[in-house]
Amino acid sequence: MILRPNVDDVKIIGYYLGRIILGLGLTMVIPVILGLCLGEVNPVLDFIISLEVTLIFGLLLTKICSTDKEMGWMHGMIVVSLSWLAATLAGALPLVLSGHWNSYLDACFDAMSGFATTGLTLVQNLDHLSYTHNLWRHLIMFIGGQGIVIVALSFLVKGGSGALKMYFGEGRDEKIMPNVINTSRFIWLVSIVFLVLGTLALGFVSLLNGMKPFNSFFHGACIFMAAFDTGGFAPQSQNILYYHSLPYEIITVIIMILGAINFKLHYHVWTGNRKEIIRNIETITLFVTVFITFFVVALGLAQTGVYPQALMLFRKGFYQLISGHTGTGYQTLYPSQFINDWNHLALVALVCAMGLGGAVCSTTGAIKMLRVGIIFKALIQDIKRIMMPEKAVVLQKMHHIKGIFLADKQVRAVFLITLAYLLLYGAGAMVGMWYGFPFLNSLFESTSAAANVGLSCGVTSASMPAGLKLTYIAQMWAGRLEFMSIFTLLGFFVAAVKGK
């Protein structure tokens, strides 16, 4: 029997959702301050209007749904999934008001792409977009990368079981510290420290590259936010190709890798346990999968002969591969070059890398390295079981912060999530093909959206059908939250209709 949700359930969800909306609205103050400093009057008005609308909705929700009841797992999961939709709708407001997006749907597409740290974009005339709006595009990646709920957990929501439920609902499998509030604050600490270092590094390289001082550091901050949070937006339409700089590419590769590493691993390295880097199953798996997929990409590119020099092939192939594998989506190629210059072998390897992703408890999307490592270990365990005597007990150990014995229950959960991702990639590809795009183009773009990567082979554009835009929005949402909170939301609606 399914229990129909009651008014109290709706109130709990509405109350916490309202608080998170309020928190999101307050983040719009940051671009307002920048806009005022730069004298960008109309962009400032765009943000003031959006801020007011967001605050009005947030206040109304918290007033109407005011409650002091305890949050359950179901409520936490639903609050998270609805928070991301609310963030998309609110975050799109200043974008559409700028006039650089053709419709509110296009602005929602970019807002979801930003919050989910994907990087696919439908912006028009990006090279003339204001600094204020550009900061917002990158800031939503920074907020989304840490987790929208993490923002609220850190500053607005009191600790306790409710916080824990929302934390896990946001696609994070692990706590770094016993308390989720402290975990959230540690994630922020790591991110802010790297933000300062990354901005300075990129800023000074840009200065040496001949950019103006303000642009150097503004671009540095934007590129850092999008790279560390494995997002992929850039302030100029050419993406990373705009900078024409090898040092810039090297620094962004380092930042992308830092962003794809588990925050728990960051914590252990910060606290002096550096050996964890070479022992951890996630870093080992990442190293192996990067090596294998890059080897195949290089083979494919060598076949095409498009990059006759080895160094050139490495620079182009490795950059796109790392960008895809970490789920960032920075490109030093034009989208159509993937289809025109790369062969199927190289593209398929890149699609596989995108589908695998980075570490759990990082800012990346996709299947993730811990799961790939567990699947591999489970395979070894099964082979051992076949080879050993029937009564032998086969234990499989792996190292992830500490030594862990692989449990069948854990393997089952890993396979379920992996299967869900594969279905999501496939479903999006089928929608793309239904709209008339070729198989590989559709699979490439669908994987890029669902794995929150952002590399594009040209399917994503303002002129693509609205149905495909909605499909990619749904994929980005589901891929970022790792399904459970969305399944819970769907279950809630079913229970509301069929429950007793």
């Binding site: 960008e40 009057v41 109309n42 008005l45 765009d46 003031i48 209007i49 007011e52 609308v53 605050l55 009005i56 206040l59 109304l60 918290t62 007033k63 008001l97 090279d127 003339h128 977009l129 204001s130 600094y131 590259n209 001949g210 950019m211 103006k212 642009n215 100029q236 339409s237 050419q238 190709l241 705009y242 900078y243 024409h244 090898l246 498009v306 990059y307 006759p308 020099q309 160094l311 050139m312 092939l313 620079r315 182009k316 030093t332 190629l333 034009y334 159509s336 070059q337 025109n340 210059d341």
Partner: protein
């Protein structure tokens, strides 16, 4: 008859070659250059568009990014020629509309495989200008209206 056929064949070949070279002489669009990069690779091209972003001087040369409305392409240009550019496109300004002539590279060996153009000449078609930002009164009125509503909701929230 045979002589006539040979004459016709030569005439057609000449016409085809003339058209082919004419195609590369006319300004190409970014779409054409990127989509048919293999055909244009190593060939002299003319490309026109708005200069956007920063002019990045690197020694005796500079990187200039030119956007024709569809995509921007990086142009490697002698520093002396880059100095002709006065305005570059941004939120605050419309960049100079320039036509450059140079050699197109699908994967430039000098620049790590980037798709670029090495320019030999630049001509300013139309000068850029600073954009005056007009204060949007409709947005201002909407912001004030919403501020009033926000105030009311805030008071409502404070009431038990």
């Amino acid at each position: 008859m045979r002589k006539h056929l040979i004459f016709n064949f030569l005439l057609l070949t000449f016409a085809f070659l003339s058209l082919h070279s004419a195609a590369f002489a006319a300004p190409a669009t970014s779409d054409e250059l990127i989509s048919h990069a293999k055909a244009y690779d190593g060939k002299p091209v003319t490309f026109a568009g708005e200069v956007i972003g920063d002019i990045m001087y690197r020694g005796a040369y500079a990187w200039v990014n030119i956007n024709d409305g569809k995509s921007a392409i990086g142009v490697w240009i002698p520093g002396e020629l880059a100095k002709k550019i006065q305005f570059t496109g941004s939120y605050r300004s419309i960049g100079d509309w320039a036509e450059i002539t140079g050699v197109f590279h699908r994967a430039c060996p000098e620049h790590g495989g980037d798709l670029d153009i090495h320019a030999q000449a630049i001509e300013k078609i139309s000068p850029g200008r600073r954009k005056e930002e007009k204060f949007n009164n409709e947005k201002k009125n909407l912001a004030l209206l919403l501020l009033g509503i926000l105030g009311l909701v805030w008071i409502l929230k404070l009431l038990k």
